[in-house]
């Protein structure tokens, strides 16, 4: 059902049966003690999701201001068709989603992109706060060739992160399809460099576990995951939207930010984001104006191109709130008889999830939805006690 759902909202999900890979779908079927048939993969996915949600440490300082380099493998291995239509296109698509989500969750963060192929690393975009720049660059990536070089890519990322202010958290996220890395020198010295600069490096493998990647992630406190399919890939990448715990050495500091007002009926003008497009369509009368230099933008958050001030809206900051104060996790309870989920009114048997403060019961779908998207318990919010 989950996979079906995903296929629905992807338009390209149309693949003929004979085009799909040779698979043994019957092997994932398992009969449990009571004779219920269920696919183990689905069960696993749920379990993993719950684990991820509830493994979050509480009351930790988070590095909310992030500087991230996203490294995309552009090597021969990315032409493999085990993701549809091929790994590169699929990865680009997933990354686009991730970028939007990322800037949504981390309004005061910056991200740059690097692609590695033919044994070299190329910088697609410098660190910026605008997801559209990246999207455009990613769309231009069509061909994949040669071997990737982890060392070159990481070194380029380290160079880019070297001058980032001390209070920001530095991260590299690598999406790697290849199983080899063609490096010019000793990659272990690069890893040492990463550790020294306290750059956290996380890798998402598209094929299998590579020992070197595991070492890199372990040494730099990153995470290493290998995808099972596209859905899993998206899950794994979206996990990186959540800000990582800050290093103990980072001191808290104040950052200057601007909160521009939305002006509806101003003089018609081109906004700075679309200045280079030279199209008449972008001459509008509404927009956000930087409180410091009064330049116009049509979308936020953004870093002012003129004066460099970070421009955000109050709701952006509020959105990060749930990272710091996440909703308490629900307790898994075994059911003896059927109940109705307090979220979606669907009948639930066997397992339900109980909110510890309002005792409402939810099905697993609602549980995940509440914790991933809502961040507020509907049971608690609707009780009288809470309103007072």
């Amino acid at each position: 059902f989950l996979q079906f759902f995903c296929a629905m909202d992807e338009d390209e999900g149309k693949v003929y049966t004979w085009e799909t890979e040779y698979e043994r779908s019957w092997e994932t079927l398992q009969e449990d003690a009571e004779g219920h048939l269920q696919t183990t993969a689905e069960e696993e996915a749920y379990k993993a999701k719950r684990r991820r949600l509830f493994d979050r440490p509480r009351n930790v300082q988070l590095g909310m201001m992030r500087h991230v380099f996203l490294v995309l493998d552009g090597s021969r291995a990315m032409a493999d068709k085990d993701l549809r239509p091929d790994r590169l296109t699929c990865a680009a698509r997933v990354i686009e989603k991730f970028l939007l989500e990322f800037f949504d969750h981390n309004p005061i963060s910056q991200l740059g992109t690097i692609v590695t192929r033919n044994g070299r690393a190329e910088k697609l975009n410098e660190l910026t706060g605008n997801p559209h720049v990246h999207t455009k660059a990613l769309q231009s990536l069509t061909s994949s060739s040669g071997d990737p070089s982890l060392q070159n890519a990481l070194e380029m990322a380290v160079r880019g992160l070297r001058h980032v202010p001390h209070h920001a958290s530095k991260e590299v996220i690598v999406v790697l399809g290849s199983l080899t890395s063609c490096d010019p020198g000793n990659i272990f010295s690069t890893i040492d460099d990463l550790c020294q600069q306290s750059v956290r490096c996380s890798i998402i493998g598209l094929a299998a576990e590579v020992h070197l990647c595991k070492t890199i992630c372990q040494r730099t406190n990153g995470t290493y995951n290998v995808i099972l399919d596209e859905t899993h890939f998206r899950d794994l990448l979206l996990q990186h939207c959540r800000p990582p715990p800050a290093k103990a050495t980072i001191e808290a500091s104040l950052i200057k930010m601007g909160f521009p007002q939305h002006v509806m009926n101003g003089p018609p003008a081109v906004c700075l984001c679309h200045l280079s497009d030279r199209s008449a369509d972008y001459i509008t009368s509404s927009g956000y104006f930087c409180p410091q230099c009064n330049s116009k933008y049509c979308e936020l958050p953004v870093e002012c191109k003129v004066c460099g001030l970070t421009l955000v809206l109050a709701p952006h900051l509020a959105r990060s709130h749930h990272h710091l104060f996440p909703l308490t996790s629900y307790e898994e309870t075994q059911l003896t008889d059927m109940i109705v989920c307090s979220g979606c009114q669907v009948q639930v048997e066997r397992k339900a999830y109980k909110c510890p403060s309002c005792d409402s019961m939810f099905c697993i779908d609602c549980d995940l939805f509440i914790h991933e998207t809502l961040h507020v318990c509907p049971g608690c919010a609707s009780t009288v006690k809470h309103h007072h």
Binding site: L179, C182, A208, V210, V226
Partner: protein
């Protein structure tokens, strides 16, 4: 294989059939528990056993913790643990587990158990002499040590202090041997011994050898027990109430056979000739007096050996059979010059025999008859050759013993050929076994009977445990080694998720059957399909892939046709390729770089031989062997005459059919590197279990798909909670399981 890693914060107390055992980890695997039960049963019955359990499941720790517990509880039933291992790394691993166990025992009981455990290895790994230890080659180092520590050198030193001796040895000899306990109780690995030796100024090697007799736990190499020449020196005075453990015992019969076999080539004979000449010169130099003294000592020594054997203090050495001791040294080799001319005649005769143009195979008795007919050498003096040569070398005070290694070989040959009429065969091959144009005659005296070398061990020691990851079929070992086992047991591995994925690929993508059968080896379609399999797998398997061919010839032809077909370039695009050669130096260089390529993420393919140096004794763990490809079953080279002789002997003596043995032998090699089809019942249980019907006879493409999925699944993190209860048991879980089992038995 993905090994289960465990971080440990406590020890588990187990009750193994009434015996309290402290297990130094948080959890015990179910198969470890079963393993300990069987072991306990064997020890109780004071018999021998064969236990198979996959590598990586903690055989060592189960063995050690049970036996130590047994020794503590029943000190008068079991006094000593002799743990035989193959390599220094393995020895260190055992010592590590042992140390860990002792630490936990100390924490649990408040005091360390009064046991001494030590490791013994060659001088190369133990020497602390500042100059000698710099030598890298083991044999040279032994020679240098001998130069400083031989008894006559030390005597000379007393007369003339300028003669160099080893201070560490002197110090140990004067103080260490007299001390009540030179080594306080505890566990000492090689490094500990070295640092202890340095601190005290004692030679660690001789200290360890001296302490072997008193220590409760001894960990050393196979050859210290199996090779009769070495065992005579090191292990002969061990208590009967000992348990001997042979770890990685799947090759034990070959080790036994090799220990008793001698190969003599023309080069050996030439070197022996030089040795005789050197001896002759020395004999002429020194006086009559010293030689007479030498002879007297010789007789005395033999008497001593006889007395010892009567009181059963020593383990019987198969090279020095009982009747040699009973008889006196025959007159015609008593005097040094006579003995030398005797040796000369023997060498000349062997040279004559080696100049043949066709293969000769005969029995030892015929050889003895022939030698008497031709050069009038009788059986009796031949038997005393080894002893006589030893005593002569000693009394002539030769320092460079290496110069006489070939002569020693000839003497050994003489002793063995004249002592045993059964179980041996003599083969002279004029040409190299496999390239029939290279004239290089070799005389093989090959032992066909693995019981000869190991019989003394089975009769002398109370319990002998053979254990390894791959011993199937288990009942072959008792037959080959002629002993009566108490238990034969194979254990499987219980895992929360399957970590082994054996596949059998029998067809290529073009549906041509792929086989390494001799007749279809040259078929290009077959080699191409093999190549495609490798190329496809190299694209989807991370890090290292180890591939094994049945023989060098096959590998060479296959690889060269792969180069022609362009398959090699496809493989090289994904990974670096390393090929095993016959040169030792090249192999170790290739292996080093292979490991490096795996570490740095470049990825590598190693093409090796199923019976080559690479596959024996090199661990392809974790990233070093994510996949193992066997190109065909590694049957031994059946045309070999030595093998044929052995097969015949096995058939006549033990009623083991040739084919059974060949399959057994091939399977143990394949199993060492995993996987294969129709003889599935002969694979160890832990591979069989995962070799599902659906995974046999796949095409290349199907295999690649299965691999992809497996590798993805394996990369998913596994949590401890999933494993506890399934593959890891806590104290309570063991108890409940035990209760369940008992109640089931009862009902």
């Amino acid at each position: 294989i993905c090994l289960r890693d465990r971080d440990c914060i406590s020890a588990t107390r187990l009750d193994i059939d009434g015996l309290p055992v402290l297990f130094p980890y948080d959890y015990v695997y179910p198969e470890q528990y079963a393993y300990m039960l069987e072991l306990k049963r064997t020890l109780d019955a004071q018999g021998h056993c064969v236990l198979e359990m996959p590598s990586g499941t903690g055989k060592t720790v189960s063995l050690v913790s049970l036996i130590v517990a047994y020794m503590t509880v029943h000190p008068n039933k079991l006094e000593k643990l002799i743990y035989c291992s193959r390599t220094v790394q393995e020895i260190n691993k055992v010592m590590e587990e042992l140390k860990r166990l002792m630490e936990w025992l100390e924490r649990a009981n408040g005091h360390a158990p009064p046991l001494t455990g030590l490791a013994l290895s060659a001088r190369k790994n133990l020497c602390v002499h500042p100059e000698v230890s710099r030598e890298e080659e083991g044999k040279k180092l032994d020679g240098q040590c001998y130069k400083l520590t031989a008894s006559f050198v030390r005597e000379r030193h007393q007369a003339d202090p300028s003669t160099p001796v080893c201070l560490f040895y002197e110090e140990f000899d004067s103080l260490g041997r007299k001390a009540a306990s030179p080594l306080p109780p505890g566990v000492y690995d090689l490094d500990d011994l070295k640092s202890y030796g340095k601190q005290k100024g004692w030679c660690p090697y001789f200290l360890a050898r001296y302490m072997l007799q008193q220590a409760n736990i001894v960990v050393y190499n196979y050859s210290y027990l199996l090779d009769p020449k070495v065992a005579e020196l090191v292990s002969k005075e061990f208590s009967k109430k000992s348990v001997v453990v042979f770890d990685e015992a799947h090759n034990i019969d070959n080790v036994c056979v090799e220990a008793m076999s001698v190969n003599i080539s023309r080069r050996t004979l030439e070197a022996a000739q030089t040795g005789i000449d050197t001896l002759g010169r020395r004999v002429r130099e020194i006086g009559e007096e010293q030689l007479r003294e030498e002879y007297r000592r010789l007789v005395e020594n033999l008497k001593q050996a006889r007395r010892n054997r009567e009181t059963d203090v020593h383990m019987a050495s198969p090279v020095l059979p009982d009747d040699v001791l009973q008889e006196t040294m025959p007159g015609n080799i008593r005097r040094a010059e006579h003995f030398l001319s005797f040796l000369k005649r023997l060498t000349e005769y062997l040279k004559l025999r080696l100049s043949v143009q066709r293969v000769v195979a005969e029995t030892p008795s015929y050889f003895l008859h022939h030698i008497q007919q031709t050069v009038c050498i009788e059986r009796k003096p031949l038997r005393f050759c080894t002893e006589r040569l030893q005593s002569l070398l000693h009394s002539l005070e030769f320092i460079e013993l290496r110069d006489f290694s070939s002569l020693n070989l000839v003497a050994n040959f003489a002793t063995i050929v004249s002592t045993y009429t059964k179980g041996f065969s003599l083969i002279i091959e004029p040409f190299d076994e496999r390239s029939s144009t290279n004239y290089n005659p070799v005389l093989h005296l090959s032992c066909n009977d693995s019981t000869i070398a190991c019989k003394p061990i089975f009769t002398r020691f109370q319990s002998v445990v053979l254990t390894s990851g791959t011993l199937s079929p288990l009942d072959m070992y008792p037959k080959l080694l002629a002993f009566q086992p108490v238990t034969l047991q194979s254990f499987s591995i219980t895992l929360a998720k399957p970590c082994v994925c054996p596949l059998v690929v029998s067809r290529g993508n073009d549906q041509v059957a792929i086989t390494s059968r001799y007749e279809s080896r040259a078929d290009t379609a077959v080699t191409r399909n093999y190549g495609n399999l490798l190329a496809d797998l190299s694209a989807i398997v991370p890090d290292g892939i180890a591939c094994f061919f049945p023989s060098y010839e096959y590998m060479e032809t296959t690889v060269s046709s792969w180069v022609e077909q362009g398959i090699m370039t496809r493989v090289q695009r994904n990974k670096l390729v390393f090929i095993e050669t016959r040169d030792r130096g090249e192999i170790s260089l290739a292996l080093d770089n292979y490991f490096k390529a795996c570490d740095t993420g470049r990825g590598a393919v190693l093409l090796g031989i199923a019976r080559g140096k690479v596959s024996e004794g090199v661990d392809f763990v974790h990233q070093y062997g994510r996949a193992v490809i066997m190109f065909g079953i590694p049957y031994v080279y059946t045309q070999s005459r030595i093998l044929k002789a052995r097969l015949e002997y096995l058939r006549d003596q033990f009623q083991i059919r040739e084919n059974d043995f060949l399959t057994f032998d091939a399977m143990r090699h394949a199993a060492q590197r995993y996987g294969r089809l129709d003889k599935r019942s002969k694979l160890p249980l832990w591979i069989q279990e995962h070799l599902k019907e659906s995974l046999c006879s796949l095409t290349t493409e199907e295999a690649v798909q299965v691999c992809k999925k497996f590798l993805r699944d394996m990369a998913q993190p596994s949590t401890k909670e999933e494993q506890v209860g399934v593959s890891m048991l806590t104290e309570e879980q063991v108890e409940t399981r035990e209760r369940l089992r008992l109640s089931m038995d009862f009902s």
